[in-house]
């Protein structure tokens, strides 16, 4: 291998944070014009390594040579100017500015004015085959489009190396394809890329070389063809796992939940049933309405609870619909009134959920999509987060019982093997997987009949994922019903007894994942428009 072929080489880089050794003698070489994957569980040191490269953190020791230049101390702006850009999972864009302004943010003088900036931005966007108007506001763009703007921004600095941190996490399948085309194109033009992702399929599709990290150590760097999926997982978690998923439980019994005519601005007449002991998977693209359905059921989104009378009227209205022209029905006051509403039966009894409290009362639990924003009070302890929804259990006459509280927390920490120094540790210091377990523990303490899991394994490392699958299985085996939403199709297919596909606010199909193919299900989830 010639030396000039290597664009980036890091040798024996070390980095410690208070109390943690984040990187130990990390060495990595990235060849020019390749897509180099970096994989590892959360906390393996991928982000630290990249943040040292981009100048967010300073290394303790070691050498970094980028493009023939030894880098000692650097700042983010210096590394960008040197030709090393990083695109974070959370975009670094100003939503209230236009596309062109964002691409040349802070460089208007350099570009000789805004007009030239827009012109140059147009050229750059064209070069990656994008048709986004440079005058539209970034805030109005989709996640995929924002990502393109980030890539264009990196290109605007003539970047030789672009680091992408989990670029696919918010993209739909189609958008991902588009991203792959762009990445492939850039690779042909000689741009080097470091691609960080949890999704191994993408890495096998896209990357040339893989570096696996674990516990701050670089385990190995290999060309992609020399590795199998199982090798990679084994390297990441440091042991072999036979299966990525446990065998699915089969304990579906009688119908426990019946949702009828759930409709809002976004949802169109959703009706489905859930059986006791069943794991029901919701498959759909981000924004298809999956989260809206479960939030309406739980009571987090306020949707009118229809009465028997209202329902008859809607049914009546619908049967009439066939006879009368559509417009008449839509325009009548009653039809308008009934545009939004829901009717729910749990164990055959009519249930109203106007807020999450009533949802919990009705025997429903929800593990929200975003555990940091919607699930945890990050600054609070593991204990406080676990008991949050069972305050009635730990209080008498309105007064809290500290020992009951501790017992419950200890019980759940043990049951879920939450890795925490003590029940009083703040959850913000825990890893993503353990944070998720805290919320799981909260619900297991209440033990709801119906547990809704919205993206339960998002951003969680492989080892903990398996533990969460086992937990879900156990809940079902103990007679609980689970609704599972996930963007990872293989996961839903492996765990569910039944899968509903949701597209654009409608249920487009019902499948038995043991019989149906992944292709069939995905086809229904994206609307069935594409048949190839």
């Amino acid at each position: 291998m010639e030396n000039s072929d290597i664009i980036l080489s890091m040798t024996d880089v070390n980095k410690s944070f208070p109390g943690v050794k984040a990187l130990t003698d990390a060495s990595i070489e990235v060849r020019k014009g390749t897509v180099h994957a970096v994989v590892g569980e959360n906390g393996a040191g991928k982000s630290t390594l990249m943040k040292i490269l981009s100048g967010v953190h300073t290394k303790d020791s070691g050498t970094i040579i980028f493009d023939g230049e030894t880098i000692e101390h650097t700042t983010p702006i210096q590394s960008i100017r040197r030709g090393l850009s990083i695109i974070y999972q959370e975009f670094n864009l100003v939503n209230t500015l236009t596309v062109g302004e964002n691409i040349f943010l802070g460089r208007f003088r350099e570009m000789k004015g805004l007009r030239n900036s827009h012109k140059k931005a147009r050229e750059l966007l064209d070069s990656i085959g994008s048709t986004i108007n440079t005058h539209s506001l970034v805030g109005d763009l989709s996640a995929a489009e924002k990502q393109m703007i980030e890539i264009t921004k990196a290109l605007a600095f003539d970047s030789k190396l672009i680091i992408m941190d989990e670029p696919s996490s918010s993209l739909t399948a189609d958008e991902l394809k588009q991203l792959f085309v762009i990445i492939d194109d850039l690779r042909k033009k000689g741009v080097t890329m470091i691609y960080i992702s949890h999704k191994l399929d993408e890495i096998f599709q896209l990357c040339d070389t893989v570096t696996v990290m674990r516990d701050g150590i670089i385990v190995d760097t290999k060309p992609i063809d020399e590795l199998t999926r199982n090798d990679m997982i084994a390297m990441m978690i440091g042991r072999e796992i036979e299966n990525e998923w446990p065998e699915r439980p089969r304990c579906a019994g009688e119908v426990i939940l019946e949702v009828q005519n759930l409709r809002t601005k976004k949802l169109k007449n959703i009706s489905f049933t859930l059986k006791k002991g069943e794991i029901l998977g919701f498959v759909g693209l981000v924004g298809a309405g999956r989260t809206e359905i479960v939030k309406a059921i739980y009571g987090a989104d306020r949707v009118k609870n229809l009465k028997e009378k209202d329902l008859k009227q809607t049914e009546h209205g619908e049967s009439n619909k066939t006879k009368m022209p559509d417009n008449d029905i839509v325009n009548t006051k009653k039809a308008k009134k009934l545009k939004s509403g829901k009717r729910m039966l749990i164990n055959g009894k009519l249930v109203k959920t106007r807020n999450p409290r009533q949802g919990i009362h009705a025997g429903i639990g929800l593990l929200p999509e975003d555990r940091k924003l919607e699930g945890l009070v990050l600054q609070f302890s593991v204990k406080e987060n676990i008991v949050m929804s069972s305050l009635n259990k730990i209080s008498k006459f309105g007064f809290l019982d500290a020992s009951r509280e501790k017992d419950i927390a200890d019980k759940q920490i043990k049951a879920l093997s939450i890795k925490t120094p003590s029940p009083n540790t703040k959850t913000v210091t825990l890893s993503g997987g353990n944070q998720q377990k805290c919320i799981m523990g909260r619900w297991l303490e209440i033990n709801p009949d119906i547990l809704i899991l919205d993206e339960p394994t998002r951003g969680i490392d492989v080892g903990t994922k398996y533990e969460i699958y086992l937990l879900i299985k156990k809940i079902a085996e103990n007679g609980g019903s689970v609704i599972m939403i996930s963007s990872e199709l293989p996961e839903v297919l492996a765990m569910s007894n039944r899968v509903l596909t949701i597209c654009d606010g409608e249920i487009t199909g019902e499948f038995d994942p043991e019989v149906a193919s992944a292709h069939e299900i995905m086809d229904a989830a994206i609307g069935g428009g594409e048949n190839d």
């Binding site: 208070p18 109390g19 739980y298 987090a300 929200p368 924003l373 919607e374 009070v377 929804s389 007064f399």
Partner: protein, 341 residues
């Protein structure tokens, strides 16, 4: 070997955290020691009584504000509320008598507080920023109403026909007036005892009850609390109602200590000083964490600071400057503490 290193670092960080956490106590002690050395009059019985007497309206409003800030909100309507409550209560003195009038005042405090909370909930204001603007507007509204009510003229307590013993007690009474057994009692103002009673009740409420804990969750993360089944909206109304009650008591103490109570003027700066006491005490502006005991420390620091500066005859403008500086430093420290996670 690595383990030992981490342990050492941890203890180091714990010392740093400790200083950050209990800086108020350290500052109070430093202030007391320095002033005691520099100014001999500081440690006299007369000054002790003086300092105790300073636990006035601010200490009550600050207790109320603690709950608001802990719940992740803020209340700038204090000046207007104090003004309106004081004017209405005073105007009722000669009509229904002193104690019933005070009762009405307290009810009015709870009602106005609940109104504040309900307006915020109805407006969907779940953030401090929105609460800031809405309550700021409400303060103007209440203040203006109080001026309308009195026609803009001040109320002179000296002109009242009936005697007002409780008002007198709140103004200058001591425990010694009731229990003249120990001379020490003459140094404990009656208001201070009232303050301690409320402090104890609110402390137990906050630390030991389910509702108190619910305030923490609401302030810590409103969305997560709501999804976790905490009645966040009811909690919001409740904390504003508690604050309203404490503000009413603050208003009563405030007019007890002034012979002439003028609308608007009577409530001036209470929002600023209350927030300052709460934040200086170490209750996080970010919400979730805090304690009424911390607020007591904050109030004490403010009282001692002005007492010390008065004793040292520091120019009043300079005193104001100091106060401003203390608030800025307190907010910076709060940020530091919060950033540490």
């Amino acid at each position: 070997m690595i383990k030992q290193e981490t342990l050492e670092r941890k203890t180091f960080y714990k010392v740093g955290d400790f200083v950050l956490e209990y800086l108020v106590i350290i500052m109070i002690l430093a202030l007391v020691i320095v002033t005691a050395i520099v100014e001999p009059r500081f440690l006299t019985a007369a000054n002790f009584r003086n300092v105790m007497g300073q636990f006035g309206p601010l200490s009550f409003t600050a207790l109320g504000m603690t709950f608001i800030i802990m719940g992740g909100f803020i209340d700038l309507s204090l000046p207007g509320m104090i003004s309106l409550i004081a004017m209405i209560t005073l105007s009722l003195f000669d009509i229904i008598g002193e104690i019933p009038a005070m009762m009405v005042g307290m009810m009015l405090g709870i009602a106005l507080g609940s109104l504040n909370g309900t307006i915020l909930v109805k407006f969907g204001a779940t953030t401090q920023a929105k609460a800031l603007f809405i309550t700021f507007g409400l303060s103007q509204l209440y203040g203006a109403l109080s001026q309308l009510y009195t026609g803009g003229s001040p109320i002179n307590r000296g002109a009242f026909e009936h005697p007002a013993p409780l008002t007198q007690a709140l103004s200058s009474g001591t425990v010694g007036d009731l229990f003249p057994f120990y001379s020490f009692f003459n140094y404990i103002p009656f208001t201070f005892i009232v303050f301690l009673v409320f402090l104890a009740i609110l402390f137990i409420f906050q630390k030991k009850t389910r509702l108190g804990r619910s305030i923490n969750y609401t302030g810590g993360n409103f969305v997560a609390a709501e999804l976790g089944g905490i009645p966040t909206k009811r909690i919001t109304v409740m904390i504003y109602a508690i604050c309203g009650l404490m503000v009413a008591i603050g208003a009563i103490v405030a007019f007890s200590r002034a012979n002439v109570a003028a609308p608007v003027v009577i409530g001036a700066n209470f929002e600023r000083d209350s927030i300052m006491a709460v934040v200086v005490g170490g209750t996080s502006l970010a919400g979730g964490r805090g304690s009424v005991l911390r607020t007591v420390l904050g109030v004490s620091l403010i009282i001692l600071l002005s007492n010390c500066m008065n004793l040292m005859r520091i120019d009043s403008h300079l005193q104001e400057t100091f106060r401003g500086a203390v608030l800025v430093v307190a907010i910076w420290l709060d940020h530091r503490r919060h950033a540490k996670g």
